[in-house]
């Protein structure tokens, strides 16, 4: 199976702080791959590198045959027409209705007549179960509904690659299950490839094909959901089963508390 996304020996940082170190990762065509890790471990940065929003310092990021480190604006936009992205809180355009949000890309990138755009938009909204809210504004939607509309918008042009940034964040259990199932179903129905960045372990393991675990900017584990559930690695075990005790540090690196408080012997 060929890979749609290939990352090799990737290093990336903000200013002097290295966020990702020596990342090697592959996403085969048609698969749904999750990148998991604690908040601030670098997984959203990794997703932004795949989407071309950031450029790597060293190493290679290849998406659909394009080397993103050296890609020009024209090629980047050509590539992005083949991508869809679901942002953490949907990022719906607040000045446009639900219908216009979903139709946005069709109007921008195609010459389809409005009647065809209407049919396609209603089909996309129907696929996420929200044809009935087409005339509402984003501010009138619940968090779960906004995420589903954003999903319809992200898949409006049947993308080859769909990127999901924390799609489960802040959702109630029912919405969470709905979004999870939609992600899997849309990936399979559209024949797309998906990369999912999340720290929601249980929901993700139900739907993904493969998992990469990131900790402190390094991939520390990888495998199928069953392999991850059975992993003997202390970090993975603690993360998957939500244990309080484990190898993950509670404190962000700092000087001793005695020093900070100005106590003697610090």
């Amino acid at each position: 199976m060929t890979n749609l996304v290939e990352i090799s020996d990737l290093n990336f940082g903000y200013n002097d702080r290295l966020v990702l170190k020596g990342i090697n990762l592959a996403v085969p065509k048609g698969s749904l791959v999750a990148i998991m890790g604690l908040s601030g471990c670098g997984k959203t940065t990794l997703l932004r590198l795949i989407g071309g929003q950031l450029r790597a310092r060293e190493g290679s990021v290849k998406v659909a045959g394009y080397e993103l480190n050296h890609i020009g604006q024209r090629d980047l936009y050509a590539l992005r027409r083949r991508l869809g992205m679901l942002f953490q809180f949907g990022a719906l355009f607040t000045d446009l209705s639900v219908y216009d949000n979903v139709a946005f890309q069709m109007r921008e990138h195609t010459d389809l007549p409005e009647s065809v755009i209407r049919d396609l938009t209603l089909m996309k909204l129907n696929a996420v179960g929200l044809r009935g809210v087409q005339s509402l504004m984003p501010s009138e939607l619940s968090g779960g509904m906004a995420r589903r509309v954003a999903l319809a918008r992200a898949t409006a042009l049947d993308p080859e690659l769909i990127l999901y940034d924390e799609p489960f964040a802040g959702l109630d259990p029912i919405s969470l299950g709905v979004i999870g199932q939609l992600i899997r179903r849309l990936n399979d129905v559209l024949g797309a490839t998906s990369v999912l960045v999340t720290h929601d372990v249980q929901e993700s393991l139900k739907i993904v094909d493969y998992v990469y675990f990131v900790s402190e900017g390094v991939i520390v584990a990888q495998g199928t959901p069953d392999e991850i559930r059975a992993s003997p690695l202390p970090f993975v075990h603690q993360f998957v089963w939500g244990e309080v005790d484990g190898p993950l540090p509670f404190h962000y690196p700092a000087q001793t508390i005695q020093n900070d408080l100005g106590l003697r012997g610090g």
């Binding site: 050509a78 990022a91 607040t94």
Partner: protein
């Protein structure tokens, strides 16, 4: 010690001056980028019409009411001063020239910066904070051409119309106070005004000023919004900067243009 303090003071002034120059340079570069990506705005003029409605039409009330009051005050003050010289019949000339040459373009631009400029900055800044601009980028749609340029042109096209309406309302205000209330002869009021106001040197120069102010305010408002840090504090700071920078730019540009216009541009 005093030398150290002096050096620190000089360094601080130097740093602040450099920062201001840098900011002005960045705004001009952003203006260039906006102009270069304005094709969409003219191809789909509906986007600009929408912004003319939000920036221009919705500023009408404040512009018309302010114009009326400014004209009334000019009528009162003008009559008070001119009657000392026995020239109270010339109050119409004073009101019209003050409004058409200076107060119309300047005050309407200041009001426009506070009402519409701040709204443009807040809207673009919030779109950035809620990842709407990133979402647009990921859909291969340039936020400069789709979001910034229509707002810029909406502001530029609205400004001269608002300035003319401000002056017209001001003249009506001056007429009401000096003719209707105080009793200046209405024939003298209008005829002296018609004789003294020159179309090329007064009205056209006023329009030129308002177009330049429209460009300055719209460029500053869109730039501040686009560059705003994506936080509540960042957007609020950007909004304040828009009003302050626009006001200073309007007054400085007015001084320069007035100097050139009085000398006849050569």
């Amino acid at each position: 010690m005093p030398l150290d303090a002096t050096m620190r003071g000089i360094r601080l002034i130097g740093e602040r001056t450099l920062r201001i120059v840098e900011r002005v340079g960045a705004t001009i570069a952003f203006l260039g980028l906006t102009l270069a990506q304005s094709a969409t705005s003219f191809r789909r003029f509906g986007l600009v019409i929408r912004e003319i409605f939000y920036a221009g039409v919705q500023s009408l009330i404040i512009i018309l009411v302010s114009g009326l009051f400014v004209g009334m005050v000019l009528g009162l003050q003008g009559h008070e001063t001119l009657q000392n010289y026995g020239s109270e019949q010339s109050v119409g000339v004073l009101v019209a020239l003050s409004l058409v040459r200076e107060l119309g373009p300047v005050v309407s631009a200041l009001l426009f910066a506070s009402r519409a400029g701040s709204a443009i900055t807040a809207e673009i800044g919030l779109m950035k904070a809620t990842e709407q601009l990133s979402a647009m980028e990921m859909m291969a749609v340039s936020p400069i051409s789709r979001v910034v340029a229509p707002r810029f042109w909406g502001g530029v096209l609205s400004m001269p119309v608002l300035a003319m309406l401000f002056s017209a309302m001001g003249i009506i205000g001056g007429f009401l106070v000096s003719v209707v209330v105080i009793g200046v002869d209405d024939g003298a009021f209008w005829s002296q005004m018609q004789a003294a106001v020159d179309f090329r040197h007064d009205i056209v120069n006023g329009i030129i000023k308002s177009v330049v102010f429209g460009i300055a305010v719209s460029a500053i408002a869109t730039f501040e919004g686009y560059e705003a840090p994506p936080t509540a504090e960042g957007v609020s700071g950007a909004t304040t900067r828009t009003v302050v920078s626009s006001s200073l730019a309007i007054l400085a540009l007015d001084l320069v243009m007035t100097a050139f216009m009085l000398k006849g541009w050569n």
